[in-house]
């Protein structure tokens, strides 16, 4: 089955992974900007990173028939540095007209601090100003519930935000329903230990339904599995879910959400 991974950090992966993903049915992906594993020291580091996301990665993906899209921001961890964050936010518009840029992301919270919240609001303002979609990172572990509620507070307090153009990622059992109930799209990240297993993700699909729900691998430089979406497909088949429902979650839903971005020129396979 063709599928689309809506959140995967391919800059951290080898070219071998592109080949494996293509063999497993991945035909498209979107890569939000994230933390490199260390705090970057200057706005030029981000400029180089954005070049990589908008130039090199789409070419690398295309060699395996995968269409690559991306999102730009300074991530929540580095948002503690407010001065640097503001320099990066001011620089992002240089890249917004690149053909694979879908919007602003993955913005969000990490430890739910004042600085992170300040920069989240300034990213929101940027997205509104440039009519961009938003992809949101919610915190992990004990910070997730509080951080997700804070993020929803900020989004819903601004009437200019259209929830149907916002994807709130890394939802789990205690956050999925509220995100969906408030009209946003929700993403489940299949990731060992700190996020969700394929089995629990299918439980959430069974409890919440398949509307506005996406599934991703977040494959990055940590102990992640870039082929986690096919794991979910297999789990859904083992539970005897219909092919229509599986396709909706792993293919139709991402395309429906991303199609709201004017740069989303995805070409389905014949």
């Amino acid at each position: 089955m063709d599928y689309f991974d809506p959140h995967i950090h391919m800059v951290s992966r080898t070219t071998d992974d592109y080949e494996i993903l293509a063999k497993m049915g991945c035909v498209g992906m979107s890569e939000p900007a994230f933390w490199a594993g260390f705090d970057r020291g200057s706005v030029d580091s981000f400029r180089d990173y954005f070049h990589q996301l908008t130039d090199f990665e789409p070419q690398r993906a295309a060699q395996y028939g995968i269409q690559h899209f991306t999102w730009l921001c300074i991530n929540a961890k580095e948002a503690e540095n407010v001065e640097l964050s503001r320099e990066v936010i001011a620089m992002i518009p240089e890249f917004l007209d690149r053909p694979n840029v879908l919007g602003i992301g993955e913005i969000g919270l990490n430890k739910n601090t004042k600085n992170e919240s300040t920069i989240f609001l300034e990213h929101m303002e940027l997205a509104i100003q440039y009519n961009q979609q938003i992809l949101i990172h919610t915190p992990h572990l004990e910070d997730k519930y509080q951080g997700t509620r804070m993020i929803l507070d900020m989004l819903t307090a601004d009437s200019r935000i259209d929830p149907t153009r916002v994807l709130v990622d890394h939802v789990e059992e205690h956050t999925a329903a509220e995100v969906l109930d408030r009209g946003f799209w929700a993403g489940m990240t299949l990731y060992p230990i700190t996020k969700c297993t394929p089995q629990r993700a299918v439980d959430i699909i069974e409890m919440c339904g398949g509307e506005r729900l996406l599934v991703n691998s977040a494959g990055d430089w940590g102990p992640s599995k870039p082929t986690a979406v096919p794991d979910l497909i297999l789990e859904m088949r083992r539970r005897e879910h219909s092919e229509d429902l599986i396709r909706k979650v792993v293919y139709d839903n991402p395309l429906e959400f991303f199609s709201q971005s004017e740069n989303f020129n995805f070409q389905p396979r014949d």
């Binding site: 519930y145 509080q146 507070d153 205690h174 398949g210 005897e240």
Partner: protein
């Protein structure tokens, strides 16, 4: 949304997986007990015990699943006054 498999089919499929996961938790608690020192007063041990209790219960009065209740148990509290405190 209905689940295609019935409860007997789910049990047949998952019995050994559940058994294995229970053993992993039991072995971890044994490992803690065998190790030198005492963590009985560590608040994380209380959370683990409370989590195990939740797993043995049915859904709560609000209809929240065990998984959701355990997620909330291990979560920091949310206060809707946070924007005022942050002056945002």
């Amino acid at each position: 949304m209905s689940i295609p498999m019935n409860s007997q089919q789910v049990l047949d499929r998952e019995y050994l997986e559940i058994r294995g996961k229970i053993l992993e938790v039991a072995a971890s608690l044994d490992r803690l007990e065998r190790a030198a020192g005492d963590v009985a007063q560590d608040p994380r041990m209380t959370l683990i015990q409370q989590g195990l209790q939740i797993a043995l219960q049915s859904n709560d009065a609000q209809g929240d699943s065990r998984a959701k209740q355990i997620q909330l148990l291990f979560s920091r509290e949310y206060a809707d006054s946070w924007r005022k405190e942050f002056e945002l």
